[in-house]
């Protein structure tokens, strides 16, 4: 039996964003979405959700200051 790390309390929710979501989300921000923080393709979470290099992940996590905070990361080699 293998443990699904996504169920662990310390692992926030990671989702792969679709092309539409990407264009929706990053159309009116003052940065290029390619400048977003990176996540390694061999990161355990990336492997668990099956993301490929180039994918953008939406990470929803609890925040001490903001309650819930949504951030993004680009999968890279």
């Amino acid at each position: 039996m293998k443990i699904d790390i996504q169920d662990h309390m310390l692992v926030p929710k990671h989702e792969i964003m679709t092309e539409e979501e990407i264009s929706d989300e990053f159309s009116d921000v003052d940065y290029d979405f390619k400048d977003l923080p990176k996540i390694k393709s061999n990161d355990p979470v990336v492997k668990a959700i099956g993301a490929e290099p180039g994918n953008v992940l939406r990470i929803t996590r609890e925040s001490q200051t903001a309650g819930v905070f949504v951030t993004y990361r680009i999968v890279e080699d």
């Binding site: 921000v29 003052d30 940065y31 400048d35 925040s63 001490q64 200051t65 903001a66």
Partner: protein, 927 residues
């Protein structure tokens, strides 16, 4: 060279070729002497005038400038034999190890060469570090044969041979710092150089030597540059003797040996002698570069002091970088001991007259200030608002010295001159206390020139500087331009820093007597006669109330003349006083508050078990009148003051500064009403209380013994995840903690501020019985824990977070049995500080105390370094208006600053908004 401004566009790092050194050289130094007997520098000597001049009366023979303007010129020494540069010993070793001993090719096959060349090119294009690739090159190219076979015909494994010519490669070793050895044979510097010369440009590129800027053989010196005399000036002593710089001494040594070596070689001296001299030359050149190299005995001065050569000039805290480039000494600054002065504003700093007469402010003379400046010059440099220098329109700086110069300057003085006048009241200066950990460590103050020799500062600014007066010193810097002055005044003034950017609350605020004074003033029942009250108002520099129609009208901040109608717009905030009526302390304090201030909160003393009268614990301010409650730490203490916080945020820093200044005065009046004093009597408790405490402690000791017993007999149940011993230790710690707390709370019942209820015998309300408790309860200084430790029981001493374990084998001290686990044997102190500790307790207490001292010493060093690394990592980050955080490359760090976009400086004690406060405000508005 004067007036030349060159702009650096690019810096290229490489090695200097012998040709470069010769081309740069203006003279080939040959004579190992400096000056002739007649005092003239020897031609082709180390002080050759072509190398530059220092004396302003001499002219440089190379550039034609006088001393001071000539920046000096390099010379060179032709070394009789090559010498290895000490900084490149290991580079040479690595290169030799990776190249063939015979053909000089790199010990890689063609594919590997191609692979690494490409990789290096790639890394260079993307400006990445080459270190990792080069490390790999050296690792792959290393093919060392430990021992050459005795029999020359013996077959050698190809992996120990050159892939190009097939020659076997015997291991090359480096005897630090500069001796290179192959097997038993010691390679001379010439042989090393020859081998390096054989390496092709393509191969050297793979070895990390870019042929565009360097060649491997340049790692071995054949010509030595001689730095200009300006780098190594000689000093003329009072006796007329000349004392040369350490570098010159070293160069003399090199030249002397070089000369002898040359003569010996020309005379055809035996190989042995030549080699000895050669080695000596190598030694001198090595120590010329670095006199602290390991394995080389340092060259010494005649006095036995090691010479300070090139490396020593640059390296370390006192080296050129850390001491002259990163940090410099500045003019127009002063440093002295600080002392307190509650009579000056928080925006001010008291400057001793001595300092005010030394540091100056440059003032442009114009037709409006010319008379004032004339007066300054008339006063001269020794009378206070005077002047030290005058800069004329032609740029000449004249010192204001005596009557003659003063008259001369006064005649000439006209608009456009700059007068460097003394510091005077109202000037802006920067004030700083090290360590400068946050922006509040440097603030702009207004000068108050005062007598005596210390800087004076208001006590409210102690917390941001973390200053006290046990001998602390602080620095002052005087602004020299109007721009800097204006900028500092709007950004760095003390009042602009009342709110800390760390948590959005006041960091500048009342401390110590300021708090207890306000408490003594505003306690319920404090009354003053009309005369006393008016005295206090005058002493506190408050506006005098208006006397109208036989009444005093308080808090009319309008320009009301006695014959005018009292305006009714904010009449709710007026206090009317009949003539002869008593004034309360609360009414006096209300004079400080803005007329439309509304606020209610729990005072610091509400944490007391009993508050008398109970109304005092809830502070209510209505329309700027302190209706009920006392003023203590929660009102205007630094870090926690609620009234202060509200005043800064809603009425601005100017009003807050005024509030702090005036409340300081008022608190002094308050504290003078009763006086404040403390003695051991304050920590006195009745005998019955002492008995109860002892009884209690005994009970707890019995409990500990019982726990130990149950452990020894095996009844004790281990807690989950803990061993039996850990469980016992935890339980004992808990019991002992309770023991201390209980004894403390028994004592606390007797440590009261004064009257506790209506039936208490103290008849005068102002009679505060116990000032120690007042200080602890109002938050002025000390805590109830401190008091109970003095009165009741000091409690468990800890080393490394647990009970004391160390000392003798299985016991702390020989007074106990081995393996004893009781309270006393492991550092529990039953006694109070007042009753005194027994020798064993005292020893344990010293152990715990020592640990505390060591920890603070270590913590400051560690946290300092941690902060330095953090600042280095974060200093280039920027927050965009949208809340986006990026680095200087444009990489996103956070899409929203702090995830909620709240600037902690503008937050309310760390939170975006205080809802309770907002609701209170709305409710009050509704009324």
């Amino acid at each position: 060279m004067k007036g030349f401004i060159k702009k650096i566009e690019q810096i290229n790092f490489g090695l200097m070729s012998p040709e470069d050194i010769r081309a740069m050289s203006v003279v080939t130094v040959e004579t190992p002497d400096t000056y002739e007997d007649d005092g003239f520098p020897i031609d082709k000597g180390l002080m050759d005038p072509r190398l530059g001049v220092i004396d302003p009366s001499l002219v440089c023979r190379t550039c034609g400038f006088r001393g001071g303007d000539c920046q000096g010129h390099f010379g060179s020494i032709e070394l009789a034999r090559p010498v290895i540069h000490i900084g490149f010993g290991d580079v040479i070793h690595k290169i030799l190890r990776s190249t063939c001993n015979e053909c000089g090719r790199i010990l890689l096959n063609d594919e590997q060469i191609e692979y690494f060349t490409e990789k290096i090119n790639e890394a260079m294009d993307s400006r990445e570090s080459l270190n990792a690739i080069l490390k790999e090159v050296y690792r792959v190219a290393k093919r060392e044969l430990k021992q050459m076979p005795e029999d020359p015909d013996e077959e050698i494994d190809m992996k120990y041979c050159c892939p190009h010519c097939g020659a076997p490669q015997e291991a090359i070793l480096l005897d630090k710092p500069v001796t290179i050895r192959q097997g038993d044979y010691k390679l001379t510097a010439s042989e090393v150089r020859e081998r390096l010369e054989k390496i092709t440009d393509e191969d050297s590129f793979v070895l990390g030597v870019n042929p565009e800027v360097a060649r491997p053989e340049w790692l071995v010196l054949t010509v030595l540059p001689v730095p200009p005399v300006t780098v190594r000036p000689s000093i003329t002593l009072d006796t007329g003797e000349r004392s040369e710089d350490d570098l010159t001494h070293k160069l003399v040594d090199i030249l002397r040996i070089n000369q002898r070596l040359l003569e010996n070689m020309e005379a055809g001296a035996p190989q042995l002698i030549v080699e000895d001299l050669w080695e000596l030359l190598q030694y001198h050149v090595t120590t010329y570069f670095d006199n602290e190299a390991s394995g080389v005995p340092p060259a010494r001065h005649r006095s036995g002091r090691p010479l300070k050569t090139l490396t020593q000039r640059l390296k370390g805290k006192e080296g050129r970088f850390r001491s002259n480039l990163s940090g410099k000494r500045v003019n127009f600054s002063a440093r002295t001991v600080i002392s307190p002065d509650p009579n000056i504003s928080i925006n001010e700093v008291g400057v001793p007259e001595m300092i005010a007469k030394e540091v100056t402010v440059p003032v442009y003379v114009n037709e409006w200030n010319i008379e004032e400046m004339k007066q300054c010059i008339k006063n001269g440099p020794d009378v206070h608002p005077g002047a030290n220098y005058v800069i004329r329109n032609d740029g000449r700086k004249i010192r204001v010295r005596n009557e003659e110069t003063i008259e001369l300057i006064l005649e000439q003085l006209e608009p456009g001159f700059i007068v460097e006048r003394h510091l005077k009241d109202g000037d802006m200066v920067l004030f700083n206390r090290q360590p400068s950990l946050h922006r509040m460590s440097m603030m702009a103050h207004e000068v108050r020139v005062l007598p005596y020799k210390t800087f004076r500062l208001n006590l409210c600014v102690c917390p941001p500087y973390n200053a006290d007066f046990d001998g602390d010193e602080m620095n002052m810097h005087v602004f020299q331009t109007d721009e800097s002055r204006a900028e500092a005044k709007s950004l760095m003034r003390v009042q602009e820093h009342i709110l800390s950017p760390r948590f959005g609350g006041p960091i500048i605020g009342a401390i110590h007597d300021h708090i207890s004074g306000a408490y003594l003033l505003t306690r319920d029942g404090v009354e003053f006669t009309e005369e006393q009250a008016l005295q206090i108002i005058r002493k506190s520099h408050l506006e005098l109330p208006i006397f109208k129609g036989g009444q005093w009208v308080l808090k009319t901040n309008h320009d009301l003349k006695p014959d005018m109608e009292v305006p009714h717009d904010i009449e709710e905030s007026y206090i009317y006083k009949e003539k002869g009526e008593k004034w309360t302390g609360k009414e006096l304090f209300s004079l400080l508050l803005p007329n439309d201030l509304n606020l209610s909160y729990k005072a610091e003393i509400s944490k007391c078990p009993v508050v008398y009268p109970i109304e005092d614990e809830t502070v209510v301010i209505k329309n700027g009148i302190l209706v009920q409650g006392v003023i203590d730490e929660s009102a205007y203490g630094s870090f926690s003051g609620k009234i202060l916080d509200k005043i800064v945020k809603e009425y601005g820093p100017g009003r807050a500064k005024e509030f702090l200044d005036r409340s300081t005065d008022l608190a002094i009046c308050g504290i003078m009403k009763t006086g404040i004093t403390t003695s051991l009597n304050d920590e006195e408790i009745p005998e019955e209380a002492q008995d109860r405490i002892n009884e209690h402690l005994e009970k707890k000791m019995a409990e500990v013994d019982k726990l130990v017993e149950s452990y020894e007999e095996g009844y004790l149940q281990a807690l989950p995840g803990r061993s039996l011993e850990e469980t016992l230790e935890m339980k004992i710690m808990q019991v002992l903690g309770e023991a201390r707390d209980m004894s403390g709370s028994i004592a606390e019942n007797y440590l009261t501020m004064g009257k506790q209820s209506d039936d208490d015998p103290y008849d005068h309300v102002m009679a505060v019985e116990n000032h120690s408790v007042v200080m602890a309860r109002t938050g002025a200084r000390a805590s109830m824990l401190n008091l109970t430790q003095i009165t009741a029981c000091v409690g468990q001493q800890a080393v490394r977070g647990g009970r004391i374990e160390r000392g003798y084998l299985n016991r702390t001290l020989p007074h106990f049995k081995k393996g004893e686990l009781g309270a006393k044997a492991k550092g529990f102190v039953h006694s109070s500080y007042k009753s005194g500790l027994d020798p064993i307790e005292f020893f344990f207490h010293a152990m715990g105390g020592r640990e505390g001292l060591v920890d603070t010493a270590i913590r400051t060093a560690q946290s300092g370094y941690m902060q330095r690394r953090l600042v280095n990592a974060l200093q280039d980050l920027q927050v965009k208006p949208s809340g986006l955080v990026t680095d200087n490359q444009g990489n996103v760090i956070q899409t929203m600053f702090g995830e909620d976009g709240v600037d902690p400086a503008k937050s309310d004690f760390g939170k975006p908004a205080d809802l309770n406060k907002l609701i209170d405000e709305i409710r009050m508005e509704g009324k």
